[in-house]
């Protein structure tokens, strides 16, 4: 490889015809350029989708119940089941290393709420402290429900800012005031706002324990909400979420005497399912981009191969002379291959460099919901470099073999 003589030979041959070398390089350089830009855009789309899903609690899992659809152990179909506090605590304990946030939710719609002369009808929701995070809501004033509130069955509520506006005009005045909801007096401890919209801002969150005490719903805790701690990759997070769901649902079916094949009774939703669709779509796009890029590169390689063949043809006489002087076939092959690899590698690097430069400077300028920070990582850059060297070798091989088979007697025949 490090043979000064051969390098000299190559530089001589290249400098002999600069235009031809330039055109040869252009085909590979632009191939790599297109490949890298496409991969960068693919990556940008991936980043865009990821950032969109990061906004919601990405790995939110919700479980609720419906009537059973199959007979089991002598129990009729169409039987109603309800989750209990034990079900919830089981999951929290069993998966305590994986569960990031957990809450129950028990809702009652249309709770008539009054403060002095103002009134409105809102949803009353029994929840736990983690609910705030799971709803992606933030506090405008005061605090959310605490563990102590749960323990003490405190009659306190954190209200949506829409309710605060309706009842108090100015939400800052709401803290510490008492409101009547369904005839029960609650102390307002906080005002939250939810980015979801008006409907999400018309809820009265009260401690779950208070809710079940008021409505005597000890045997029905409502829906179960969990978020799981994220793993380093989407696939791992997704796998963990799916494993959690399938194990937990199996447990719930057994516990509530639901037929193992009854898919209706235990219902669930995972926010990762949505993300998964986009991720799969994105992977297809990535694959597609790789495909197009590689095909472009192949077109470049064919171009190089073609031009190398012409070079061999032009240098037939020279190769004949070299062979007459004692050049062995392998030295001729090495000479042509070396030149081909050299040209593809150098021009490829230029294409790589220009495309990285473009991504570096133009990338952050792209203001689109779907493309964020298009870039390629180091691994991809290394892969393309390897691709380049391989493609140089492929491009040069056929012409080189052709050159090595030139018979000096024919090459040297005087015209």
């Amino acid at each position: 490889m490090f043979d000064i003589e051969r390098w000299e030979e190559i530089f001589e041959a290249i400098s002999k015809n600069k235009l031809r070398t330039f055109l040869t390089g252009l085909s590979v350089g632009s191939g790599i350029f297109i490949l890298i830009i496409l991969l960068g855009i693919g990556n940008g789309m991936k980043n865009g989708i990821q950032s969109k899903f990061e906004e919601d609690s990405a790995s939110l899992i919700v479980l609720w119940t419906q009537a059973t659809s199959m007979e089991y152990k002598g129990l009729n179909a169409n039987r109603n089941i309800d989750y209990t506090l034990d079900d919830f605590n089981y999951a929290k304990k069993r998966y305590k290393n994986h569960v990031a946030e957990a809450t129950l939710r028990y809702r009652r719609w249309g709770a008539l709420t009054t403060y002095k002369k103002e009134s409105g009808s809102y949803a009353m929701v029994g929840a736990m402290p983690d609910m705030l995070g799971i709803e992606n809501a933030s506090l405008n004033a005061g605090r959310f429900i605490s563990e102590d509130d749960l323990k003490n069955n405190a009659k306190v509520t954190c209200i949506g800012h829409q309710i605060a506006t309706d009842l108090f005009k100015n939400y800052e005045k709401a803290i510490g005031e008492y409101i009547q909801a369904n005839g029960i007096q609650f102390k307002v401890i906080g005002v939250y706002s939810d980015p979801g919209g008006e409907r999400d801002n018309t809820k009265l969150f009260i401690p779950h324990t208070t809710m079940s005490q008021i409505y005597n719903t000890k045997e029905n805790v409502g829906q179960l909400f969990f978020t799981l701690t994220p793993e380093s990759t989407f696939d791992e997070t997704n796998e963990k979420s799916e494993k959690f769901l399938s194990q937990y649902k199996t447990y719930l079916r057994k516990k509530h005497n639901v037929h193992p094949d009854d898919l209706k009774a235990i219902q669930s939703h995972s926010s990762l399912d949505e993300a998964k669709k986009f991720i799969i779509l994105n992977r297809m796009m990535s694959l597609f981009f790789w495909g197009i890029g590689i095909l472009t590169l192949i077109a470049g390689i064919v171009g190089v191969s073609n031009i190398m063949l012409i070079i061999v043809k032009e240098r037939t006489k020279e190769i004949g002379i070299r062979k007459a002087l004692g050049a062995q076939p392998k030295s001729i092959i090495a000479m042509i291959l070396h030149e081909s690899i050299f040209i593809t590698t150098i021009s490829g690097f230029i294409g790589l460099f220009l495309s990285l430069l473009l991504l570096q400077f133009a990338g952050p300028q792209i203001k689109s919901e779907f493309i964020l920070n298009p870039s390629v990582n180091f691994g991809v850059a290394v892969t393309t470099v390897v691709l380049l060297i391989i493609s140089g070798a492929i491009a040069g091989y056929l012409p080189a073999r052709h050159a090595s088979k030139i018979k000096p007697i024919i090459a040297l025949r005087d015209e």
Partner: protein, 233 residues
């Protein structure tokens, strides 16, 4: 040095077979200066190609410096050409983007000689042909006679057993031809075996032995007293 027995060679021209060499018996001793003459189509170039291991005979034996040349792989053929033979062509066949000294050094490159030694040797041979001052010139800056002398220096560079010259004066005027022949005679005087293919009788007269070829057979093989080229320059 060269022993050839009953050598046959034919070429396939479409559906016809062209029998070019029809049984050549031919020996050359070390230090001889031989010219092979014949009209075009007599088979003289084919014979030279076979002697030069650029082509292979169909039948017969060829021994070069006690080495039987038969069924050689490309690799071994290249090795033998490099070790045993130096070529001089009618059209010089210098590599036009390499300067004189690099052209002369090329056979040494293929022998694996290192750069310093290669350039020393190449310069030595350029001196020998009187072109040391032109070492860094490209072939297109040289006259025909100078080019041929560079080619001769290149042929000598690997110190071969035999020099093979195919119409070495074919592209040169008479005066330059004689100058080249003078150089060849001098090299021969130093003991190098030289074979020249030519169709010019005056050139043949400057060798020590003339072999006449006609229709693929040797019809005449005579030793002569060579005309000294120097006297005609």
């Amino acid at each position: 040095m060269i022993e050839i027995k009953d050598l046959h060679k034919s070429y396939q021209m479409g559906s016809n077979s062209l029998h070019v060499l029809k049984g050549i018996d031919f020996n050359v001793q070390e230090g001889e200066l031989v010219s092979i003459m014949g009209s075009s189509g007599s088979g003289k170039s084919t014979l030279l190609n076979i002697i030069g291991i650029l082509d292979e005979a169909d039948k017969g034996t060829y021994t070069l410096d006690n080495t039987i040349i038969k069924n050689l792989s490309e690799k071994v053929a290249a090795e033998y050409r490099n070790k045993f033979l130096g070529f001089i062509f009618q059209s010089f066949n210098l590599i036009n983007y390499k300067n004189a000294i690099d052209n002369v050094a090329l056979p040494l490159y293929y022998q694996g000689v290192n750069r310093k030694e290669r350039n020393e040797k190449a310069l030595h041979y350029l001196e020998k042909v009187g072109l040391a001052d032109w070492a860094t010139h490209l072939p297109n800056e040289l006259s025909g006679g100078q080019k041929q002398r560079v080619a001769i220096a290149r042929a000598l560079a690997s110190d071969p057993k035999v020099l093979l010259a195919d119409e070495p004066t074919g592209a040169l005027d008479t005066k330059t031809s004689y100058e080249v022949m003078e150089l060849i005679q001098n090299i021969n005087d130093e003991g190098k075996t030289i074979l020249i293919v030519t169709h010019e009788p005056d050139i043949a007269q400057m060798t020590k032995r003339i072999v006449d070829l006609k229709d693929g057979l040797i019809i005449n093989d005579t030793y002569i007293e060579p005309v000294i080229a120097k006297a005609h320059v």
